[in-house]
Amino acid sequence: MNPRMTRDQLLRRGAAGLTVLSLPTLLAACGGGGGGEASGELKDVLNFANWPLYIDIDEETKERPTLNKFTEETGIKVNYFEEINDNATYFAKIQGPLSQGRGIDRDIIVLTDTERPLNVILENGWAEKLDKSLIPNIENLIPAQQSPPFDPDREYTLPWQSGMTGIAWNPKLTEPVRSISQLLDDPNLKGKVTMLSGFADSVGLVMLDNGDDPSAFTDESFQRAVDRVQAAVDSGQIRRFTGNDYAEPLSRGTIAAAVAWSGDIVQLKLDNPDLEFAIPEAGGMIWTDNMMIPLGGSVPTASTFMNFVYDPVNMAAIAAYVNYIPPVAGVKEVILETDPELASNQLIFPDEETLGRLHQIDAAAIGNEEYLAQWQSVIGA
């Protein structure tokens, strides 16, 4: 047991919402994730690295209400860094210290499960184990998220927000596009189609359309998908591969249809209500940004925060602002009271039937260098 565990800290943990202090709890709390003493101590500051505009902001006071509330309730101050612009570049920035076994001075970072960095960090043991005893609210995690391929028991990661990958189209320019086959083969769409450059998003959708399972790649199923995309590139059907820069041309009508993210369409529809988004009949993909504790981060502090945001009331405040899919059960009910229209938005609160048609990407495939290299050459680099 950690001798530094003081009475004061115990009390503060109580304040953090922990009602029963059982012996296993303490053992778990003090054991940390093997990252040394720093990882086992509750601190009064949380260093939280997140993506820009990814937590609620009060436009009037220009403060972040959720973070303030957390500080009020727990006494833990939050240093909030909006420094993650994309997974790959952020990873390039932090891999140096991590690979030398050093911390990066962050207690929580948020990375996407459809991209490689999250998996590389887990594979190399560069993440601390969550202290679930401090996260009783984990029971609010929606069933669809409880056992992802990369972290089957949610030992290291907890979802922050999710989104769906499907097909968006501009009804002024095309018939409804409800399948990848139509997107890739319809001659009317030639040169008017973009796909996401993300491996998981695009390959995943094509595999589903082929009747293959994107959660369990085989060399053959991958090859089938890649060949189809390559053929569509060669024929000029696919105009470009994009990040979320498909949004502007889709909205304007430069392109007619795109492999798109639901979160973008929520925003685009406000400007251009005609735009449509659908999960293809063969199924769609889901991506999730996950909170995790990088090597050397304070496990109790981070876990306390995770517990806080897994309270549906707190997650509702975040979800109402960021408009992605919250991973916490009960959020919809909270929002229903304040903003029924938002609560009925299928892109933010998809029904069970829709959720059932979403698939997670095979974690091993994302780390497969040959697959990645081949995909990169299809998208041109």
């Binding site: 820009p52 436009e59 972040r64 420094e83 612009n85 390039a92 030398q100 979320n244 502007e248 400007d271």
Partner: protein, 287 residues
């Protein structure tokens, strides 16, 4: 504009009517071309300014929805944006001053002196321009990590000076190569020492080149994303903020700030010219 009073006009009288028409056409063709070229340069800026008055319904500021002053009124409404812009301006100003000084000295050494290692120094100046930013940023970061330097404001500054310096050297060299050294020699002959000559003769003659180099450096610093991202630590600059926000959607306040920077810079330049000409006018009256 002073275009019509330019020097060579004196010789027109010696030319025939046909030539005079030709001159007229030519002069105005050039001016018309300049106007077109500026329109081309300013076109995206005009769009940026236009969209700073847009009233988007969602978060994407792409499609014109309607005119509003709200974004300007609420220019500081985006958390962290003001700090990011301030940091960018500070770093750009600071690194421009240092890089301009270092670069000017290097250019003088390379152009004016023949010494061992001159060729090497020359190539060294070009190399940073030829290195892809991403690998430059990443290897610079590994240097800082190895040396256990905490990344932040000062590491950004160091990196910016490093890549601006080459631009200054090349720009100042372009002036020094065609430099008339007789003026300097004359000054020295009249008893001025090297420092006085440099201050009174060389520097004023180099001023347009130094100004141009500094302008370039400032512009490149304030626009840099890739290298800055690696060496920034938790520090946010304007481009980092914008790239980050782009994942969700760039708020219209970014257009406001970009427009404001542009308009303020133009205002300062215009006021400068007016003050200078007022002073010149007064001096003429006095004489």
């Amino acid at each position: 504009m002073s275009a019509t009073t330019a020097g060579p006009a004196v010789v027109t009288s010696r030319l025939g009517t046909g030539a005079r028409v030709w001159r007229f056409v030519k002069r105005h063709t050039l001016t018309a071309y300049a106007a077109l070229a500026f329109a081309y340069l300013m076109l995206p800026i005009a769009v940026v300014i236009l969209f700073s008055f847009n009233d988007p319904l969602g978060r994407f500021n792409y499609v014109w929805q309607g005119f509003t002053l709200d974004n300007w009124r609420n220019w500081d409404g985006v958390l962290g944006l003001r700090e990011a812009v301030t940091t960018s301006l500070e770093i750009a100003a600071l690194s421009t001053v240092v890089a301009t000084a270092l670069g000017t000295l290097m250019a003088m050494a390379i152009v004016r002196h023949h010494f061992r290692g001159r060729g090497t120094a020359n190539v060294l100046v070009f190399l940073p321009l030829a290195t892809p930013e991403i690998v430059l940023g990443a290897s610079l970061l590994s240097l800082f990590i190895t040396a256990q330097v905490a990344t932040g404001f000062w590491t950004i500054f160091v990196a910016h000076v490093m890549f601006i310096v080459s631009f200054v050297v090349v720009t100042v060299k372009a002036r020094l190569v065609g430099f008339d050294r007789h003026l300097e020699e004359a000054a020295m002959d009249l008893g001025a020492d090297e420092l006085t000559t440099f201050r009174k003769i060389t520097l004023p003659l180099l001023a347009p080149a130094i100004l141009a180099g500094a302008l370039l450096g400032f512009a490149i610093s304030i626009d840099d994303f890739v290298i800055t991202y690696f060496v920034a630590g938790p520090t946010q600059t304007f481009p980092l903020f914008v790239w980050g926000a782009a994942r969700v959607a760039v708020p219209p306040q970014v257009n406001v700030i970009a427009s404001a920077i542009f308009l303020i810079a133009v205002t300062i330049a215009v006021v400068n010219v007016i003050i200078a000409s007022l002073r010149a006018g007064r001096r003429q009256q006095g004489a």
